[in-house]
């Protein structure tokens, strides 16, 4: 079997859920408490990195393939751009907080408040987590082509 010992596998299979939930919490409450899309996205990606370290690369690749991760990455970037363009369409200028100013003021300090800021946080969290996961996965897949180097030396 690939990966580390049984102890590491058991512990990480318990902990991965907690890390993932904590990442989601950091992303969703980014407009209320310290955190936000960037920090939460990195926590989300680190839960997958833990799985990769404990169970091996193949397990993670079956769980979240490269193609799906790159689609999530593109989806995050697309959502962020859509929020910005919606601000231009509905609010008059690029990136204006149209939800807070017009449609959904919300209570300060409650979960649904601050208009587009939580939505932007979710988009950025999706983007950052998928892209960090992608870069670690591609770096772990990558094997330098040694034969090409030898040919150049000869």
């Amino acid at each position: 079997m690939k990966g580390m010992t049984v102890i590491v596998k058991t512990i990480s299979s318990w902990i991965k859920v907690l890390i993932f939930m904590f990442g989601i919490y950091i992303v969703i409450t980014g407009h209320l408490t310290p955190g936000g899309g960037f920090a939460g996205g990195i926590i989300l990606a680190s839960s997958y990195v833990l799985l990769m370290l404990a169970f091996g690369r193949k397990f993670v690749e079956e769980n979240l393939p490269l193609a799906a991760a790159s689609r999530l990455d593109c989806l995050g970037a697309f959502l962020f751009a859509v929020i910005a363009i919606l601000g231009m369409v509905l609010g008059g200028s690029f990136f204006v907080n149209f939800l807070y100013q017009k449609y959904l003021p919300g209570e300060p300090l409650s979960l649904i408040s601050a208009g587009t800021i939580p939505l932007s946080n979710i988009a950025i969290g999706l983007k950052v987590s998928a892209s960090l996961f992608l870069v670690i996965l591609t770096l772990s897949i990558f094997r330098p082509d040694i034969s090409a180097d030898k040919k150049e030396q000869n």
Partner: protein, 183 residues
């Protein structure tokens, strides 16, 4: 305004030299000079944070990275050092040292940054009106996703572009030409 025209002239000359020169190292140093001129412009426009970013990325980062990674077109200086060159270098380093001492004398005391003391500073607006204007309790979130969302869009674009580059360059399955696959 005259200083901006002088800097603009300097940047244009550096850009022309960077394109026209044959030596790679000279070209990179000219690009560094462009970045230096731009960072001076930012400094005169009272945006010191962007000036610092500009000088770190474009001058230091670019030159060091290109000098470290590209192994061809190396320039080695052989022979004895010229006396005049050594004197000029020592004088320039001494002048920069004196200027550094002057700069450190004018710095505010530790714990009292300029941006919190100035009355018209943008940070004062963020702190006093951030909750009313954006509704976000976390002022950092309100700054990076509402007041300065363009900046965040730029950061997201940088991340996206770098990930595209990494996945394209480091991909596992190389796209081989059809005739190679047939063999």
């Amino acid at each position: 305004m005259a200083i901006f025209y002088i800097l603009l002239f300097f940047i244009i000359i550096a850009a022309i030299i960077a394109v026209e020169t044959n030596d790679l190292l000279s070209s990179v140093i000219c690009i560094g000079a462009i970045g230096f001129g731009a960072s001076l412009m930012f400094l005169f426009l009272r945006a010191p944070d962007i000036a610092i970013t500009q000088i770190v990325v474009e001058v230091l980062g670019l030159i060091i990275l290109i000098r470290a990674t590209i192994s061809r077109d190396l320039t080695f200086i052989t022979g004895d050092r010229e006396f005049f060159g050594v004197v000029v270098s020592v004088v320039i380093v001494f002048v920069i040292f004196l200027a550094g001492i002057k700069v450190f004398e004018t710095l505010p005391a530790f714990g009292t940054p300029v941006f919190t003391e100035a009355t018209q500073a943008a940070s004062q607006t963020y702190i006093s009106q951030g909750l009313a204007k954006t509704g976000a309790a976390n002022l950092v979130a309100s700054v990076i996703l509402d007041f300065r969302a363009y900046d965040t869009l730029g950061e997201a674009t940088v991340l996206f572009t770098s990930i595209i580059g990494a996945t394209v360059i480091l991909r596992h399955k190389a796209k081989k030409l059809p005739e190679v696959l047939e063999k």
